[in-house]
Symmetry: C2
Subunit: 334 residues, 2 copies
């Protein structure tokens, strides 16, 4: 067991937040977000202190028209020094495009569940592994780092639990191929804190040198608790989505990714250093309903920060005066 961190007290510990709403979120939307709005939002997020932004995906424009402007987005955004602009790529063709467009990192996806991989990618896991290995070779030649996102690492909505050995086995194979980072993805919100803590501890013990990101969905209300359980096991890097954008096709109506501004709000209150500017994140999040054409899951956007105070009710002064008057000595004539 990896030594336990007291996750309840941040004590200034640095955490790294990575925005996925601009890819994972926008990809789910039925409307096309205008390219200039995507660019403006990413530029705003670049100023907000995020460690990484998944700016877009280099996928077939026929398959995912929402992200058909990948090249333009990556070319036109203002690259903030210190921020990693990563892009999802599904195959060699996407990798060529992303490298050509100067992505800072390629993010590859495979599912740890055979059923989910076939349903999502139309390939067996071994076929995905073979194809992605070629992408990793290509990226290494171009000196572009590669992160591999392991879907369903905390359970598959069709198969059920995925054994930890299977998850860590796929991590090992990709790290051996030259991947520099692994993301354990809770694709449909099946993760729970004790499971998270155990898997993160196992991962860190087995791969102490590998970059590790945790990607949670708030589908069953456990998002923040899973983040804290990861921290307890030594993790410090988390995907999150502005406004909580990003759905889950297997749980209609339920929340998507953990919400960037909610996670930052909670972690900062607990004394963590997230590097993020929360008011800027809230300003950016406030633009989302207008961009996507619907309400977003973020509760913080509705409720405000905990110390955003409210005025007392209009009649407060008279209620108070009447209450105080009851404590005065009664006059003889009353």
């Amino acid at each position: 067991m990896t030594p336990e961190t007291n996750a309840w007290d941040g004590a200034g510990k640095r955490l790294y937040l990575q925005e996925v709403g601009t890819r994972d979120g926008f990809q789910m939307e039925s409307v096309f977000i205008p390219t200039e709005d995507k660019i403006a939002l990413i530029d705003q997020l670049s100023d907000a202190g995020l460690a990484k932004i998944e700016a877009t995906a280099f996928v077939s424009p026929q398959a995912i028209p929402a992200l058909r402007d990948a090249e333009i987005v990556l070319r036109e955004i203002r690259r903030q020094p210190g921020v990693v602009y990563t892009c999802l790529v599904p195959n060699k063709r996407g990798a060529e495009r992303a490298i050509e467009a100067r992505a800072d990192e390629l993010n590859l996806v495979i599912s740890t569940s055979e059923t989910h991989n076939i349903a999502n990618l139309r390939m067996t896991r071994e076929q995905s592994f073979a194809a992605l290995s070629e992408v990793i070779t290509m990226a290494r030649q171009a000196k572009v780092p590669v992160n591999v996102s392991l879907s369903c690492a905390f359970g598959c909505p069709m198969e059920g639990d995925v054994p930890a050995d299977v998850v860590l086995g796929w991590a090992a194979r990709f790290l051996e191929q030259g991947a520099t980072g692994i993301t354990l993805c809770d694709t449909t919100g099946m993760a729970y804190p004790s499971q998270v803590r155990a898997l993160v501890a196992d991962f860190r013990q087995r791969f102490p040198q590998a970059g590790l990101t945790l990607h949670f969905h708030n589908t069953r209300g456990m998002g923040l608790a899973n983040v804290l359980a990861s921290i307890a096991a030594g993790a410090d890097r988390f995907d999150a989505s502005l406004g909580g954008l990003g759905g889950c096709p297997y749980a209609p109506g339920a929340s998507g990714n953990v919400c960037t501004e909610e996670i930052v709000h909670a972690l900062q209150l607990m004394g963590y250093d997230t590097g993020c500017d929360l008011p800027l994140l809230l300003l950016a999040a406030a633009r989302l309903p207008g961009l996507v054409g619907h309400d977003v899951p973020s509760q913080l956007l509705k409720a405000g920060q905990r110390l955003d105070l409210h005025a007392p009710p209009a009649d407060f002064a008279s209620w108070r005066d009447r209450a105080l008057a009851r404590d005065q000595p009664q006059t003889a004539v009353s």
Copy 2:
């Protein structure tokens, strides 16, 4: 500092869940829930393993018409042995009615914030204390236990932070008067985990014999994390609301109380013994939208339990067959 519990691993530890939706939730609704539906729901919850159910409030029927049937509800429900049926009472008149109706416990409310107490109850805190002290005396004579709920224990939406000394000071005065339990209420969802852990630890060190309940709202997405932080500091008793019913007038659109079925789902997965029958809770929660006439905040009700599996997409078999065929040796004629 009270010794720290590892909250991440339940290890069979017994927790006690207390339902408040039938009072705190129903009171907020604009429709009148028919008395027979209230009774049927409470009877269903009595079978679901909850430790306590706040069945109703003995308040002025003019002020809160939603609960004007308090006497009938308390008389007609089936009293499950072992379940405590508690009732909110605001004053001596309410206490008389509740005692006459054989409430198992009286729950009294005062705010730790002067502004909130005046806004909510039209009295200063000292005036509330004097009035509630008389209720406690009356209840002790009738041998009915009294719990005192301290509102805004983790912050007031109008004043801001309420110092821990003030909160614990009010707890001390009520315990000296003979209250048997104290609930620390996060009335508008301002609590955060490190604060919760510290206040719960202080409370338990100062009042080791007092019954302690934590009452959280999920207004800013920290509900479950706050429950776990409480457990880390030794608490074992929590209010929650079926379906997440119960709003917060200062945060329109934001979630209400932490959701009973979500909390039970998460805590059971972590290995805690909640005493609750989750499928029964979900059945009861599924009736709520019909009763209150709108969707309820519960995400678990929409998404289902984590291992409620889904069938693969309709075309799955052909996708799999095509994927597998790619691995077959090519025939000479192909």
